[in-house]
Amino acid sequence: MRPRGLLHLARLDLRADWKGAALNGAAACVGAAALAFFVALGGGVGDAARRMFPGETRLVEVVPSSVSLGAALGGGALDDESLARLATVEGVAGAFRKLNLRVPISASRPPEGVALNWPEGLTVQVPVIGVDPGLVRQDLAPGRWFEDRGAGEPIPVVASARLVEVYNKTIAPSWNLRRLPPGGALLGLQFRVRIGHSIVPLKTEDRVVEGRLLLAGFSERVPLYTLAMPLQAARRLNEEYRKPFQGYSAATLQAARPDDVPRVAAAVRRMGFSVDESDRAMAERVGAVVSLTAGALAFLALVMCALAALAIGQSMAASVRGRVKDIAILQAVGATAADVRALVLAEAALVGLGGGAAGAALARLAALAADAAAARVLPDFPFRPESFFAFAPWLDALAVGVAVISALAGALAPAALAARVDPARTIS
């Protein structure tokens, strides 16, 4: 039987038994909707988690080992010599130094140019780390510079890309402060700070000077509550305040490819250094939990698809039993067993197609409803997404495809049953 004729007849059969077709379509629809809904939910929550815990897959954070066996084994302090050796490890595309600023910096007023209701008398400590400019160069705003231009000049800083969001959603509400505008609007702002001053008793240096920090960009490579300044600036301030160089506090190695990371980390450990995997481990743990949950939900949806297939199978088997005479008539006018089998499967495919398309649409409607409910019920926490669902372009095709496959799987036995009809015994 030719495909066009097959579809024509299948369509006529479904129209004749539209109630049964609608019931089967509903079963396929529920399975497809559940699959699309849960996969989209997993994707949406995963995206939110990745924004909350960004983990760059190519970076390896090297720190001095807490138990150093000395230079004989190549470990110990992270200095320029060891950095040079780390940079030659196979798979390393770049090595960036990090140096803790050991001079306290505090701020007692808001950034200049921002209408912030800064509480009277409030002073905050500003944790700062010096970094090689190459680490954050890609995140600098166009036209911004990131270098130390000497004492008296503003020091450029790069903040965590997550800082504004966390500030706006947690610090601002709890301190009753105005929210900051989006990150881009803050670029170029200057903060008046006191270098050498600490809010911790006895930690303020003998010399406290006024200075200015210039916000040059936002980067995922800067820790959440820390500002990054050029390494040169950190080194200069440490020297000005007679803080002797004790080695770099850390180094960030950039692997050429994500696949190189395990090899690079192993080489780093062999050289006697430690690898700080806390950020990566957190990101991986969160990713694993999200993946596991999404996988479990998708599995649940697949179980629902399997149940839909069973329901469709039961229903179609009953339908085939109810129209054995019709099938015998088709055989009398020239249908082969294969034609009959194909006809039942074509009916199932059409049911799956319709049910799957309806299911994909239903999933989007359900997602809209869930987002609307979440907007009413959930508090405005940091990185709360506009939507908890990510409908990838392929998801509709997946939903429809799984619905068609479920319907076809359910129809296999009924199709075989139909193909076994003996026209000579049935038609008389």
Partner: protein, 223 residues
């Protein structure tokens, strides 16, 4: 034409075996109307199903419309039913959910003849076949909305769609009133005059009365 030689057909019922056709011979020439009569259960319908390739499980030689049925596999037998013979049944055997025209074009959907006909062409052929049996104006009615005679004429139109050389009719007037039955019989005569081989199984004298030959099926053989 139809040429059956030493046809033997057995049915197994639980532990017992029934021989329904027992060395049956039959020859029907093109343009001939042959009526087979006999009591219920004598095997008239079985004879028709064997002749029409619906039942391929028999012994003997059957050559119908130039094809040796015992040599045909299931797919070839289906093609034979589709192209070479047309069936007409007592209970019409129309698909109740399809309008008359869709019932008539069914054989076209299963045709393996090349080139494939478009659905529109098939529908035109079906309408022409309905016109041939006087039902052009009822093409889009469901079988339930047609009288018994009209339904049987739809069934005949379906049987004629592929222009077969042999028409096999199983009690074609059994469910029809006198007038409708007469019109069906007249239609068969007309088809036979056009060169079609017509084998009719019937109880009814009005059918056998117009046949060229009347054969009695008894004890599994024709007399």
């Amino acid at each position: 034409m139809i040429e059956l030689r030493s046809i033997r057909k057995r049915f197994r019922d639980a532990d017992r075996e029934h021989t329904v056709l027992d060395g049956l011979d039959l020859e029907v020439r093109p343009g001939e109307v042959v009526a087979v009569v006999g009591p219920s259960g004598s095997g008239k319908s079985t004879l028709l199903y064997v002749t029409g390739g619906l039942d391929g499980d028999f012994e003997g030689q059957a050559v119908v419309a130039g094809r040796a049925l015992s040599r045909l596999g299931p797919v070839e037998r289906a093609a034979f039913r589709n192209q070479a013979v047309g069936f007409v049944f007592q209970s019409f055997n129309l698909l109740p959910a399809l309008p008359a025209v869709e019932n008539v074009l069914l054989p076209g959907l299963f045709s393996r003849a090349a080139p494939a006909l478009a659905l529109r062409t098939l529908e035109e052929s079906a309408l022409a076949a309905l016109g041939r049996v006087g039902l052009a104006d009822k093409a889009h009615k469901l079988p339930a909305r047609l009288s018994g005679g009209e339904r049987q004429r739809v069934a005949i139109a379906r049987a004629l769609l592929a222009r077969p050389r042999v028409l096999l009719a199983d009690e074609p007037t059994g469910n029809l009133d006198t007038a409708s039955g007469a019109s069906i019989i007249a239609l068969f005569q007309e088809l036979a005059r056009g060169g079609m081989t017509v084998l009719v199984v019937t109880h009814e004298e009005r059918v056998s009365a117009v046949a060229d030959r009347v054969l009695h099926l008894e004890g599994g053989r024709l007399r």
